[in-house]
């Protein structure tokens, strides 16, 4: 379980994340217009960005001062909005560098790519590979930054089934409403760095404030 308590991050005069408290204990989607602070919140949770204020607890342990490597060793897995892979290494090596959990390239539709350098994969496939790499680390909590962006319908369906098989809490950033509704049991909306609303997918879909934000942002 991942608990974010009063997290803030200021970049110069911009407050990218503004006092966000959030508990990730199931299939949790994080939505919000571009620039809302979703990626920054994931960076704060994973230790890639230091908070200006607030705390991060992983399975009850305060990891606020721990770096990304240590949080990963404590069970925090993640992917990045721009997929982060070892480009010169083949897909099989990338998977093994992720960890020892029984995940195969087949699971994410990359069955024939064992010997293909990760750098040669098209963008959508890179996302799928990174999801597999993160799962290979046997995470206790998983953070995914727009894993479905740029995927075709088939890959989206595949990703959905892969994610549904994940038994640990997941915090998923995603723009696509249909994907969120199909996957998540909790949705949190971020707007200008602050938490705007949180609830089940259907209550969020019916929320007037949320609709206003999305219309204003033309998203």
């Amino acid at each position: 379980m991942l608990e974010l308590r009063g997290l803030s991050r200021v970049f110069g005069s911009l407050t990218a994340v503004d006092g966000v408290s959030l508990t990730v204990s199931s299939r949790h989607a994080l939505i919000g217009p571009n620039g809302a602070g979703k990626s920054t919140l994931l960076h704060l949770a994973a230790g890639n960005v230091r908070p200006s204020a607030g705390r991060v607890l992983l399975d009850g342990r305060d990891v606020t001062r721990a770096g990304p490597g240590r949080r990963a060793r404590l069970g925090l897995g993640r992917t990045f909005q721009t997929p982060a892979l070892v480009d010169s290494a083949d897909c099989g090596t990338n998977l093994r560098l992720g960890g020892r959990a029984p995940v195969s390239l087949d699971d994410v539709g990359l069955g024939g790519c064992e010997r293909l350098p990760a750098g040669a994969l098209p963008h959508g496939r890179r996302r799928l590979l990174e999801v597999a790499v993160a799962l290979a680390g046997a995470p206790r909590v998983l953070l995914l930054d727009e894993p479905a962006a740029g995927l075709g319908d088939d890959d989206r369906a595949l990703l959905l089934s892969v994610l549904r098989a994940v038994e640990v809490p997941v915090l998923l950033v995603e723009h696509d409403q249909a994907f969120v509704r199909a996957y998540a049991d909790t949705v949190t909306v971020l707007h200008q760095g602050a938490l705007l609303a949180s609830g089940t997918p259907s209550t969020i879909a019916a929320d007037a404030d949320v609709a206003a934000v999305y219309q204003g942002a033309a998203c």
């Binding site: 990304p68 982060a84 892979l85």
Partner: protein, 308 residues
């Protein structure tokens, strides 16, 4: 890389190395032995610059540590094997200490920090007279016996066998290590630190261990230098040697150990044989420009290009 052409090339090189002592004269063999020493220095630079992604101008420093350590041991009567092992250990300890600073840097900052390490070492070699002999260098180093009970090596053939054999052992060991998971970890840190950290790998530690290994490789190179020329001075470990090494690595292709060694051979050949008196820097400069334009991936890239 295709398998058969590579195997054929390896076999051809090995056969050539075995045949050379029978056909070349003393001086040529000594030159090749010197290339073996410089080749290890170049390989250690390639390991850090190309494989680990830490561009370095400072590998002359552990090379110097290895050379002076081996020189002292030679004076004390130690055999070559002991000289090599202790020089490697001393250079490794040195690289551990300097590595604590180096692996915190990247890119241009890394180049500057390593340049400073190299320059400070050259200054130390110049100033610390009681240990290094100062500007005059460490002279009258006794001829080295490879093993206990062996003959002192004075001529080209034994020194060639000693230097080339040692360099091959070190290079093959390094090459094999880079083919294991350890190599994948090092290249992973070069390609994507963020990913490596997100997967729980200790990037700083991996790079530090690579720096230590590279230091030991350079240290062995220094020990070979002492055995071959029986003399070392600050000029052997100064900026000019750093620059030649980097040139060798650029010519060889930064990510290739073997390319770096071949590059060292090319640089020495141009400097010592092909250049008319006084024209060596100009010719080496032209070689550098040609290498960057004609072979963007160095000599090691030729094979890959053919495949592409």
């Amino acid at each position: 890389m295709k398998k058969w052409p590579t195997l054929a090339a390896v076999a051809a090189v090995l056969v050539t190395l075995v045949v050379l002592p029978f056909v070349l004269r003393n001086f040529a063999l000594l030159t090749i032995a010197r290339v073996a020493a410089l080749g290890l220095l170049a390989a250690s630079t390639a390991l850090l610059t190309g494989t680990a992604g830490l561009p370095t101008l400072g590998q002359v420093a552990p090379y110097a540590v290895g050379a002076y350590t081996a020189g002292h041991l030679a004076h004390a009567g130690a055999v070559g094997l002991v000289q090599i092992l202790v020089a490697a250990a001393a250079a490794a300890v040195f690289a551990l200490l300097t590595g604590l600073a180096v692996v915190r840097t990247r890119g241009t900052v890394c180049l500057m920090v390593t340049l400073a390490v190299g320059e400070l070492t050259a200054i130390a070699a110049d100033q610390w007279k009681s240990v290094t002999g100062g500007t005059d260098g460490m002279a009258r180093v006794p001829a080295v016996r490879a093993f206990w009970g062996g003959e002192p090596m004075l001529k080209g053939v034994p020194l060639y066998v000693y230097a080339v054999g040692t360099a091959l052992v070190v290079l093959v060991a390094t090459w094999l290590m880079l083919r294991t998971r350890a190599g994948a970890l090092v290249r992973g840190c070069r390609d994507n630190e963020e990913r490596m950290r997100a997967s729980g790998h200790r990037v700083g530690l991996i790079l530090l261990l690579t720096h230590v290994w590279a230091g030991a490789v350079a240290g062995v190179g220094g020990a070979l230098l002492i055995a071959v020329q029986r003399y070392v001075s600050p000029a052997d470990v100064g900026f000019e040697v750093s620059a030649l090494t980097l040139l060798a690595v650029v010519i060889g292709g930064a990510a290739s150990l073997w390319g770096a060694v071949a590059g060292a051979g090319a640089v020495v050949a141009v400097r010592d044989n092909l250049a008319p008196a006084g024209q060596a820097p100009l010719l080496l400069g032209l070689l550098f420009v040609a290498a960057v334009y004609v072979l963007p991936r160095g000599l090691a890239g030729i094979n890959r290009r053919r495949d592409a």
